[in-house]
Amino acid sequence: MLSFIIRRLGQSLLVLLVTGLIAFSMFRFIGDPIDNMLGQERTIEDVERLRTQLGLDQPFPVQYYRFLENAVQGNFGVSYRQGRPVSEILLERAPATLELAAVSGLFALGLGIALGVFTAIRRNGIASNFIMSASLIGVSLPTFLIGILLIYLFGVQLRWLPTFGRGDVVDFGWWSTGFLTESGLKSLILPAITLGLYQMTLIMRLVRSEMLEVLRQDYIRFARARGLKDRVVNFRHALKNTLIPVITVMGLQIGGIIAFAIVTETVFNWPGVGLLFINAIQFVDIPVMAAYLMLISVMFVGINLIVDILYVFVDPRLRVDSAGGH
């Protein structure tokens, strides 16, 4: 067991290194940060001097090695654009993204499960057919368009909700939260819906199909035959059994939520790490891009690792398999 975990850790580390290398090699093609750092009246001399100063004249494996060397010590360098340590910037932006991800995740989970159960129980009802088809509209339009349409409708036409940003935030140490003010909560609604819509559809469909499966099982039929109430059967027995796959999928979808936060944050000017990343691409802020990609990789590899290890705990057959063969 321990050796399995150690091996998995080793593999994960390798994955991280490879991902980092790929990401790093991309930066050469994103553009040249120098032009964003120097004004219109710069000379070729200035350009060369700055290039040497930033180490950009080195071959990229050397640059990558230096980056890794520093990253291991927790030093992600200094943003070309802001002239501040990248770790500081990321820390400042993380709460916005995490709060948005959490709210949209909860929205997806809550509404997804509710609608999934409903459409499974009323399998052939008009309402559930309508919900099933309508939910597909949500995944048949690109996220950015949904966001823009929501802004147009609720922000500009109806003026119910703010069009951009996070509203007022309250600081607790380094963490800033939008949960405690009215404008902060209002500002969360549209971005959270935009971001969570896809996952909501996914969960709804998953819950529905798992429910349908479970409802067909013998023990459910027996339960019904025994005269248990429908509600008890549906919720105590059927729903409980559908939740395990839902939680697994949700775990893997955290990645998708964080990634698509890039699009949502761009549309809503949401001050999170996704917007930071998009701005970094625009200004070729290599330290910020590198740190973001590494951070995302660490997170995803971590999630993967946890899921893998959990599986081994849950399913002893896999344990034998992995320990023996591979």
Binding site: Q11, S12, M26, L136, S140, I148, G255, V263, N304
Partner: protein
Amino acid sequence: MADLSTSAPTKPGRKGRWARFADSDFFYSFKRSPVAVVSFTVTMLLVLSAVFAPLIAPTNPFDPASLNLMNGFTPPMEPNAFTQESFLMGTDDQGRDVFSTILYGMRISLFVGAAAVLFAMVLGIFLGLVSGYFGGWTETIIMRIADVQLTFPSILVAMLIFGIAKGFTPVEYRDQMAIWVLIIAIGLSDWVQFARVVRGTTLVEKNKDYVAAARLIGRSPWAIMIKHILPNALSPVLVIATISLALAIIAEATLSFLGVGAPPTQPSLGTLIRIGQGFLFSGEWWILFFPACTLLALALSVNLLGDWLRDALNPRLK
């Protein structure tokens, strides 16, 4: 296609391919589902009009010499103030006929989507079969690569590949290359699903007696994988492929919004929407509205079709 059953009369004993198909459970459940029939019809209609775009479209929007800038921003069905020309769905900022541009753009979207899914499918099936069948280090390496792939969310993968490929492509080919790079970028971020499903099936099937028997009579591993194991995985692969097609079309649009899509001189539906969203507040609603509706119709009908396929091919849910 819904009326195929009548065009292929059933003769007892010697049934044609179509007739057998028309008699199948699969086709029966298709006929019985209005959603499936409608979404299939819409999909086919859109696909055909994209394929025959040069015959249907009034103008060729990809030919810069045919454009008249003065036609720009003409509302639908209204004559232009300068040129007096009028267009079914109006024109965009370059004076391009929106209707023609949609037809041509849909070609690119469908081509990119279909090619990306095909690429992902072939790659995923191959890697899934190999890793499931051979196991060992092969499996470990492939599944670790799959983890890397899952590690990076699809749009990030696509942005990475786009960035790298653009750097390696000689500039003079960039315009043509953009499309291929998109296909590879979207395809590469999609293969894992196929690989996982195929690997799962392979793991289950490879220990069954008939595979052991085939191995005993000396069939090559490749023959066993492709002829015996793969057919068991085809239903889920087909479902994933259909849903991936819709996702790929959407992904292309999203990438375009992030600035790594098809070039605006040869716009896809996604690029058209990206351009059109800039005119949402300016009153030229048609530049966004028609491409968005087309994309919605296309993705929705493909999604509905995939949805129905999943149910139809999953006998347990019948």
